[in-house]
């Protein structure tokens, strides 16, 4: 039962988020490319475009903003699902049967989030950088060679480790915080709505605070 539930959560949190992650990443990569091209000129080399797109996607957009966006999509879904189960007494029904409701309902969501969100973030990095390269070449602001050179210049593999470490923590936060709020919801439809709102707000706040803390610890 647990494994089946875990696989279902992998699908709900991971597979069903691929579309939004891909859409945002492609457009952000493309926009970063064009904005960087707009700001450089004269003495700043063109390969800076590839460099900036890579650094922005790997260091901040994919590992931080994708989890923030997912805390809206996945977080509100988790909080409202558990909140409805609480007010409809489905969680009480599990407890009466002798099922550890928190372990049965919450643990698969947290494990799935921690496991699958880093994959979504890697996908976001790849698509963002790819879209940046494509837009750069097709609009003529950069040649493919310049973009590739920029992508490789001063590359530190630790940046990816840093990004995935953050992402794992954010994956935990964006599933556990909504699960907590949903699990303790009360008061009917209004209560479920409020728990969902609180879940998203607190997830985002905690992601931002932990982003600062982790960046201080890992990059300084």
């Amino acid at each position: 039962m647990f494994f089946r539930s875990f696989v279902a959560e992998l699908e709900a949190i991971g597979t069903q988020s691929v579309g939004i992650v891909a859409l945002l990443s492609v457009f952000m990569g493309a926009v970063i490319c064009l904005q960087t091209a707009h700001q450089i000129g004269g003495w700043i080399p063109v390969y800076t475009i590839g460099f900036t797109v890579r650094q922005t996607m790997i260091l901040e957009f994919s590992p931080t903003l994708i989890p923030v966006i997912l805390s809206g999509k996945v977080g509100s879904s988790i909080a409202s699902q558990l909140g409805k189960m609480r007010v409809d007494e489905q969680i009480d029904a599990l407890e009466i049967m002798g099922v550890n409701s928190a372990a049965y309902l919450v643990l698969p969501k947290i494990l799935a989030g921690v496991l699958i969100i880093p994959f979504l973030v890697v996908l976001s990095m790849v698509l963002g950088i790819g879209a940046g390269a494509w837009v750069g070449v097709t609009t003529g602001v950069s040649s493919l060679a310049d973009f590739e050179y920029g992508m490789q210049v001063d590359f530190k593999s630790f940046d990816v480790v840093y990004a995935l470490t953050k992402t794992t923590v954010f994956g935990f936060l964006l599933t556990s915080v909504p699960a907590y709020h949903g699990f303790h919801a009360s008061g009917g439809a209004l209560g479920v709505g409020q728990s969902s709102t609180r879940a998203v707000v607190w997830s985002v706040v905690l992601i931002m605070v932990s982003n600062l803390v982790l960046t201080s610890l890992l990059l300084n």
Partner: protein, 250 residues
């Protein structure tokens, strides 16, 4: 038999249960009645362990449930079936999957045995045709019957029903009442029904406990109920014209 010994429960300064002592008999449908806010639901939740009482204890066939650890309670919980007011069916599972759920979690039956047992339970509540439908696709009365099927799936010794007739039309309510009465005899269960529906009380009750402001003011059976005797009970029982007419005719 379930015994409640001097159960007290407060929420902040508000005392909800003020020393409830009661016995719920085996193979009987034991009703707990009272006005909304009298403490019936809190009493049920204290009895099944969803809420911890501040003092007092609950025994299931002389096993002190209140004193047990969470792990020890698990054994007794698997002997308990509960029908919730709203059905509390898992809305992502079909009707038959809902009934299979406790069997999958706790029984040693093979998959074919679980399927057979689930269909037996659905047949008992005359819902085998709805097995593959989702709870949202069946009526309120059918959801209650699925709830009963799920509650009896593990062959429980104790059945709790919280307002089993709420939101149902009178004919469907009688079907549910009779089903609860019949399965109580069939499975030799100790059944506790929380209700304020007097039709249901008169239809299905064997014993009745009247809760008023967190205390049991009266207990007896449905025949004694009509004789009254306690002012608060009479105000509750004879609140409707129908019940007053019945009383006059007696």
């Amino acid at each position: 038999m379930i015994r409640l010994h001097d159960i007290h429960k407060s929420f902040g300064d508000h005392k909800v249960l003020k020393g409830i002592t009661a016995e719920f008999l085996t193979s009987k449908v034991n009703y707990v009645i009272g006005r909304s806010g009298s403490g019936k639901s809190v009493l049920t939740k204290c009895t099944v362990g969803l809420i911890e009482p501040d003092s007092g204890h609950v025994t299931y066939d002389d096993r002190n449930f209140t004193a047990m650890s969470r792990k020890e309670r698990k054994g007794i919980r698997q002997e308990i079936g509960m029908l919730f007011q709203g059905g509390a069916l898992f809305d992502s599972l079909t009707v038959v999957e809902n009934v299979k759920f406790p069997l999958r979690m706790f029984s040693d039956l093979p998959a074919s045995g679980i399927a057979d047992r689930a269909m037996d339970c659905l047949r008992r509540v005359e819902l085998e045709a709805a097995a593959d439908r989702l709870p949202s696709e069946v009526s309120g009365g059918m959801q209650k019957r699925v709830g009963i099927a799920r509650a009896i799936a593990m062959n429980p010794k104790y059945l709790f029903c919280d307002e089993p007739n709420s939101g149902l039309d009178p004919q469907t309510a009688i079907v549910i009442d009779n089903l609860i009465k019949d399965i109580t005899r069939e499975y030799d269960m100790t059944t506790v029904v929380v209700s304020h529906d007097m039709n249901s009380v008169m239809e299905a009750s064997d014993t009745i406990h009247f809760v008023h402001e967190g205390q049991i003011l009266w207990h007896g059976d449905r025949h004694q109920l009509l004789a009254g005797g306690v002012r608060e009970l009479e105000e509750f029982v004879f609140a409707s014209d129908l019940m007053r007419t019945i009383r006059k005719r007696r």
